[in-house]
């Protein structure tokens, strides 16, 4: 809302410097956006929050000033002179859609002389940045900017049958607005029609063929109240926002409607001549009930604001704001809020009024807030350890958008085959799918980095994915996802390091996945014991190409909740064996299809309780000596007892047990 400094002086003395006014209004709720000097006037831009439509006019702002500086507010009382002929003889108003328009007030002025506005009026409108059109139209705008009530002037000659019918629009009803553009209306929009056609879009904009022009002689002045929600959806749907719709959306002062009409008529008679027909047509199908008084317990000031205020101070502030004290005693009083403050319906609303007028700077900032313990959540502890491992392994943290486009969404979705949840408006260009995996987003970040010629691209992200569920809110598991330029085992090693750092209670297992997104061989699902935990693999050549990536990448995506469930955040001490260890190396020749995990499992079992560690060394293939389809697995084991020093015989027994178990179960031949 832009207000004119000079105009405000019509209602309240401005003895303070401009800057002081700006500052104090801001501290009382009218945020100062800027001031521009225009001629000998200042255009002050004030931000008005949506709960304060009363400040969308000069009188409202002047009232705030009067309250803050304890000055008197002077509001004119318009009493335009009327002629002998009554308006009801020639005009009629009916409201057929009371759900869209709760009140319609009309006055008729005959024989006006439409012409330019006087300079003082034109200047005030220009200060506010409004177009200057003609005296009659300018006056309707002027009164709106004075009190916040939008008005509309019709050329009465163009209202067929002298009728105003307020009704809902029909489907696809055409309407030519004052901006000379054709709009297509729909039910739920409020139309002001005459006998045969729409002449205005109620509360939003007038119609082209009933607008006041130089040839206009008789004008009908509309002052009405339209339903905020209907106005808002109409303005949005048609992208037709006007100062009128802005005010109706927020609500107008029901008691100010007739005042605005009289004020405009008085000014038209004064500046454009003509005669005001006797009376007013004021249709209000369902007049609002009188406002209920609000009980104000004075003790609540201290309880909510933390400061003591005398009851007289509280009552003084409220009464200057227009609150009517109907009864009360020392403990409490009842107040009826003024019609222009529909936002004041509860005790807490009045407390806020007291606070902002008394001044928030009176509230201390150094009271002793009691101490309280706070708990760190396990999920945060797990997250921190995971991050430590990832950072140490060379991964930097990325953050990507939760909503992705169709291509990314369908590229990879290992957790759910259900259709992704979609947002009804895309978040970024074309992106309307809530992601089911972080991997496609990370690959996109990878692509951007490749295009920037960044050579080391090691990224991770921890974020939620959204997995649809029938009949309830979607599941939102947190994933830890990686993209790396390193190979399968490098990334697997990082995951193993995470499990180790978290002392995960369980064994990491891999099972094959058949997902064309990943390389046929170098890919797997990860389990902790038998619980699905994640996916790991090299992105297949086709998917690499589809993601516009130049270089191969290995990805992994693991579930935070499984980590949290299996981790031991407070590890327990294991007594250390004081006895020496004995190490053995083994070099087994086995068939290609014998997996390391199988050999390791067998060695672990055969090694018994003295087996402290199994360490994989390498795989070696020598088809000439071992035959094709055979490989050598080299490993070492460490044996140690916590009861005694193992004797050579005991250790050798275990070694033999390992060899024969591997031979028996996997056909492994010990080499050398």
């Amino acid at each position: 809302m832009i207000v004119s400094w000079n105009w405000l002086k019509d209602y309240v003395p401005l003895n303070m410097p401009l800057s002081e006014a700006e500052e104090r209004l801001a501290m009382a709720g009218l945020n100062h956006e800027g001031t521009e000097k225009i001629g000998d006037d200042f255009a002050i831009d004030l931000e008005v929050t949506s709960n304060r439509p009363d400040c969308l006019g000069h009188v409202g702002v002047a009232r705030e000033i009067a309250v803050l500086w304890d000055e008197n507010l002077t509001v004119p009382n318009p009493t335009p002179a009327t002629s002998a002929t009554g308006i009801s003889d020639v005009a009629s108003v009916s409201i057929e859609a009371p759900e869209l328009c709760s009140r319609y007030n009309a006055r008729l002025i005959r024989g006006v002389k439409v012409g330019p506005s006087p300079d003082w009026l034109a200047q005030r409108l220009k200060t506010l940045g409004l177009a200057v059109i003609s005296n009659v139209v300018d006056i309707t705008n002027y009164v709106m900017m004075e009190c916040g009530q939008p008005l509309h002037a019709f050329d009465f000659a163009h209202l067929k049958g002298g009728k105003i019918i307020v009704r809902g629009a029909t489907k696809d009803e055409p309407f030519m607005a004052i901006d000379h553009r054709q709009y297509v209306l729909r039910p739920g929009m409020c139309v002001i029609a005459d006998e045969s056609r729409p002449v205005a879009l109620g509360g939003v904009m007038g119609g082209a063929d009933s607008e006041v022009s130089e040839s206009t002689v008789d004008v009908l002045i509309e002052a009405a109240d339209f339903t905020p929600l209907a106005i808002r959806s109409t303005a949005r749907a048609l992208r037709l926002h006007s100062p009128s719709s802005y005010r109706f959306e927020r609500g107008v002062d029901p008691a100010g409607i007739d005042w605005a009409s009289r004020r405009a008529c008085e000014m038209i008679l004064d500046l454009a001549g003509g005669e005001l027909s006797d009376g007013v047509i004021d249709v209000e199908p369902d007049p609002p009930a009188a406002r209920e008084p609000v009980v104000f317990r004075f003790s609540q000031v201290k309880r909510i604001l933390g400061i003591e205020l005398e009851a007289s101070r509280v009552e003084g502030i409220l009464s200057r704001l227009g609150m009517d004290r109907v009864k009360g005693d020392k403990q409490s009083a009842q107040f009826v809020a003024p019609t222009w403050r529909r936002d004041l319906t509860r005790e807490i609303d009045l407390i806020e009024e007291v606070a902002r007028i008394h001044g928030y700077d009176e509230i201390p900032e150094d009271v002793g807030v009691p101490m309280a313990p706070s708990n760190r959540r396990d999920v945060d502890r797990v997250k921190q350890i995971v991050r430590q491992v990832l950072l140490a392994s060379g991964f930097s943290e990325a953050m990507t958008a939760s909503v992705v486009d169709e291509k990314s969404s369908s590229a990879y979705s290992p957790w759910s085959q259900a259709e992704p949840i979609r947002s009804s408006t895309p978040m970024l260009r074309g992106a309307d799918c809530l992601r089911r995996s972080l991997i496609p987003s990370l690959l996109e970040s990878r692509r951007i980095n490749e295009s920037l010629a960044n050579d080391t691209i090691e990224l991770f992200e921890t974020a939620k994915v959204y997995l649809p569920r029938e009949g309830q809110l979607p599941e939102e598991p947190v994933m830890i996802s990686l993209t790396s330029g390193r190979d399968f085992f490098a990334v697997k090693g990082v995951i193993e390091a995470i499990l180790s750092a978290l002392h995960v209670d369980g064994t990491l297992k891999t099972v094959p996945v058949n997902d064309p997104f990943l390389d046929t061989q170098q890919s797997c699902q990860l389990l902790i014991d038998d619980e699905a935990f994640g996916f790991l693999g090299v992105v297949s050549a086709a998917s690499t190409k589809a993601a516009s990536l130049r270089n191969p990448t290995t990805i992994a995506e693991i579930r935070m909740d499984v980590l949290q469930k299996t981790s031991r955040l407070v590890p327990q001490f294991n007594p250390l064996s004081p006895y020496p260890a004995i190490n053995y190396d083994f070099n087994f020749i086995v068939d290609e299809n014998v997996a390391w995990a199988e050999i390791a499992g067998t060695v672990g079992e055969a090694g018994g309780e003295c087996l402290e560690d199994i360490h994989y060394q390498e795989t070696y293939r020598d088809p000439e000596r071992d035959g094709s389809g055979r490989k050598r697995l080299m490993l070492s084991v460490r044996l140690r007892s916590d009861q005694q020093t193992l004797t050579g015989e005991q250790a050798d027994e275990i070694r033999q047990a390992i060899i024969s178990a591997c031979e028996k179960q996997h056909g492994a031949a010990l080499l050398g």
Partner: protein
Amino acid sequence: MMALSDFVAELDQLAAQAQEAFDAASSQETLEAARIEFLGAKSGRLKAIQKQMGKVDKADKPAAGKRLNEVKQAIEETFTEASERLASGDTAGSSDVVFDTSLPGTSLAFGRLHPISQTIDELMDIMGRLGFSAAEGPEIEDDWHNFEALNIPREHPARDPLDNFYLSTAKQNANAPDDVLLLRSQTSTVQIRVMSKTPPPIRIISLGRVYRPDTADATHYPMFHQMEGLLIDKQVTMADLKSVLRLFATSYLGSEVHIRFRPSFFPFTEPSVEADFSWNDNWIEFGGAGMVDPNVLKAVGYDPDEVTGFAFGLGVERLCMRRHGVSDIREFYKNDVRFLQQF
């Protein structure tokens, strides 16, 4: 018995340690001491290992002996070199090779935490010290948690489809708002979830991603992070709010900070304010705050005459941009590794 591999490993370790000791010697005296330690005829460490030869398997003995001789020779050569180096009186040695200390160290590839995460950690840390525990909730929310319980009734403009990411689920239709799902537009939803389950007192911060359909530009992104604090107890006042914010801002900025309130309007708080903090003689916008609206307290089953509370919220990105001098919010989501490595 002793495995050959263990014997060899011990020898190799000894050779490495001897080399290190001889190279490090800066005088004939320290060199001589090192010689006695490793090559001493009676109780030198090499001698000690030699004694273990007996434990090695008979078949492995020749191999063990061969290795022992090689290592002994190598250690003696290293000693001679060190001795010559010291005799020449110059630690650079007699060769033409110059040890260049200005060469870079062996590079260590480590990653960086995203600046947003670093800021969040800082905020959680400070609020934790003030007694606020972290809480989380779903990002996909229903009508009740995102609007109704937060005192945002059906006809409120905050529900406009242009201001929210509604989800197109199969069940959804405009006439049955109870089925409506959306990406949460604020983390206040978490407060509702916590209060609905927990009796007062409450002292939490909720942190996480929120979504609003803004066109992405230098200062807007349709997804951002919010931190909200909530304190509910008997006798909580606006003075407590101001004081907690001052403690918070002072902890964050590390110097004496003051807090200013300007009236504002939010559906879920009353009174509502914009909080600013003073910094370098300027007032900096901190975020929205206020006393929890009695309607919100009632919605979660609290009695507004029993308890009061305050809430405040701030945008993490904005704070992070100011903290690190980032001029474009979109940088946070591009993940250019050169950007990430700056933090």
